[in-house]
């Protein structure tokens, strides 16, 4: 079930990289944004196009207290392709949140973010033809996904760990099957 070897080139072969909100936030808050160039260089080298979910856009742009700031953040984030979420995404995300809880009973529902589940759902929906870039690898558990690569960014002396998360069909099918067979304790 577990992958025995890591083929990074394979993870990038389909050309789309979904960015998590924490990557956008890290970029926007870094002392020097250009330190994050490593991620862009990697995606550029593999010609992986950057995309975002509209739930990520909400997390990034929301809660501004004036129109000028709201517009500037919107304009910045709109340079990327924004994918809408639909019923299928919510269905997979809901299933995932229950499967996470089934697999790790100690997880509190507060630790399972709807937006993270929506990102995770994209990895499943696109069947490995998409990768996710995140600075919180714990939001994408290894019992469903793989970490194909980690990149350490030096943000003015502070280390930001970035993970490239990919879909693992074997793990997903195994979890789905076990969850479907699960009974109430």
């Amino acid at each position: 079930m577990e992958k025995t070897s890591v083929d990074v080139a394979e993870a990038f072969k389909h050309g789309f990289a979904l960015l998590d909100t924490n990557i956008l936030s890290a970029l926007a808050q870094a002392k020097h944004s250009s330190n994050f160039g490593k991620i862009l260089d990697l995606l550029y080298k593999q010609q992986c196009e950057i995309i975002l979910l509209n739930s990520t856009k909400f997390e990034f742009v929301g809660y501004c207290n004036n129109n000028a700031d709201y517009t500037k953040l919107n304009n910045w984030v709109n340079q990327f392709t924004i994918l809408p979420i639909n019923g299928e995404d919510i269905k997979i995300a809901s299933f995932l949140s229950s499967a996470y809880k089934f697999r790790s009973h100690e997880i509190s529902p507060k630790q399972i973010s709807f937006c993270d589940c929506l990102n995770a759902a994209q990895l499943i929906k696109y069947g490995g033809r998409l990768l996710l870039v995140t600075s919180d690898i714990h939001d994408y558990p290894l019992f469903v996904f793989d970490i194909e690569r980690t990149i350490v960014i030096d943000d003015n002396g502070k280390a930001v760990f970035v993970g490239i998360i990919t879909y693992n069909e074997g793990k997903w099918l195994d979890l789905r099957q076990k969850f479907k067979e699960s009974q109430r304790n």
Partner: protein, 59 residues
């Protein structure tokens, strides 16, 4: 199904003519990112009532 879904992204990115490495200017991108820094940091401060680090944790 995954193939069909991927085609949809490809169509959307082509149609909207958004982010593309062909016309990506890294220097311009980071300059524009630096320009939203203050806005973003203030917004996060208001949201959480304190400074937050890049990963969303408080500092």
């Amino acid at each position: 199904m995954a193939e069909k879904n991927t085609k949809k992204i490809e169509e959307k990115t082509r149609k909207e003519g958004k982010f593309s490495w062909d016309n990506f200017d890294k220097e311009k991108f980071f300059k524009e990112t630096d320009a939203i820094k203050d806005i973003f940091i203030n917004k996060e401060k208001e949201k959480y009532g304190k400074d937050v680090c890049g990963c969303g944790g408080s500092v």
